[in-house]
Symmetry: C2
Subunit: 200 residues, 2 copies
């Protein structure tokens, strides 16, 4: 079995959400699993000098238009959330609390959290809301709520972020395939060919 | 005859070069012509706070890898120039000097200049080199060399940049189709569908 594809994402990232909707089918097409890595772009931007797209002159208004258009292009439901961006600690810790012992459930919960935010306009930065969404996706809601405040999971998320930066991750989504880095949903066609041909 | 597609590019932009190699076939597929608009990203970045990709932490090394990989993906010859980035005034003024009276020649010269820089590693910021390349592509080399220092063409280039910023152009390549803005070579598949379906 070849190594899984590493999928890095921030729960506040619209393109991360689109990537989350598309990555599993892409990986499965090539017999690969997906390793889900929630990260915090705010912490990464402190290292890299990046900034949220929507807050940049000119790029800001373009990006909002492009989020919605890219979602339509890929056939993915999307609504710009009322509150944006949000801190992603709560949903990220919940996903990490599930990942090692049940990666399939962790992926289902991650996608449910993303949809709650980018389709149903729920503020998943709220620990209670995030835990409730996780519960609806099959996780133990009380355990999920506890995970948000668990010091071990706080540390686990910090480590994910540090490791991601060490690997060169600077955006969301960011995919690493056998050591090759790909930034953005718009690189998924290149990932597809890379997986098919073993590089190009 | 529907309106041409507006194609904005900086001669120092690797993705602009890839776009220049691909845009005409894409437009022609849908019965459209291409209006070529050389701009100066340096001037645009002063307005938008942008910066050359290759100079950003993490993004810099990724982007160099992605330039070459994206070129291979699209089947376009590419070599990272020894001198990068370069000021694009000379080649831009030459293209503007040709565009209004012979847009077909202007496009041919633009592509020749891009290839001279991104394939043959010629420093097209040098007026003599840029004029020589234009001559090789069918333009009058002496007139091209004179265009670089022509105050009217200096003003024309400034106006192109100001108008581009007013339209929301903040990167290269940047394509506007019937008022709809698309940033990046990676949006060409969306442009393709937009032209086929009249929006989506």
């Amino acid at each position: 079995m070849p190594a899984p594809i590493d999928f890095y994402f921030d729960f506040s990232s619209p393109y991360g959400y689109l990537g989350a909707e598309l990555i599993e089918a892409l990986a499965a097409k090539h017999g690969r699993a997906v390793a889900w890595h929630p990260v915090l772009l705010g912490a990464i931007f402190k290292e890299t000098g990046g900034a949220p797209l929507t807050q940049l002159p000119l790029k800001g208004s373009y990006s909002k238009r492009d989020f919605a258009r890219s979602a339509r292009y890929h056939g993915v439901a999307f609504r710009m959330p009322t509150r944006f961006p949000i801190p992603a600690q709560a949903p990220s810790r919940i996903v990490l609390s599930l990942r090692d012992r049940d990666p399939v459930l962790a992926a289902r919960v991650a996608k449910a959290l993303y949809r709650a935010y980018f389709v149903d306009d729920q503020d998943i930065s709220d620990p209670g809301i995030a835990a409730s969404v996780a519960g609806g996706a099959g996780a133990d809601a009380a355990a999920a709520r506890a995970a948000v405040d668990d010091p071990a999971l706080k540390d686990a998320l910090k480590c994910e972020v540090v490791q991601a930066i060490d690997l060169g991750v600077f955006g969301s989504p960011f995919v690493v395939v056998d050591g090759e880095p790909f930034w953005g949903v718009d690189r998924f066609p290149q990932i597809d060919r890379w997986l098919a041909d073993g590089g190009f």
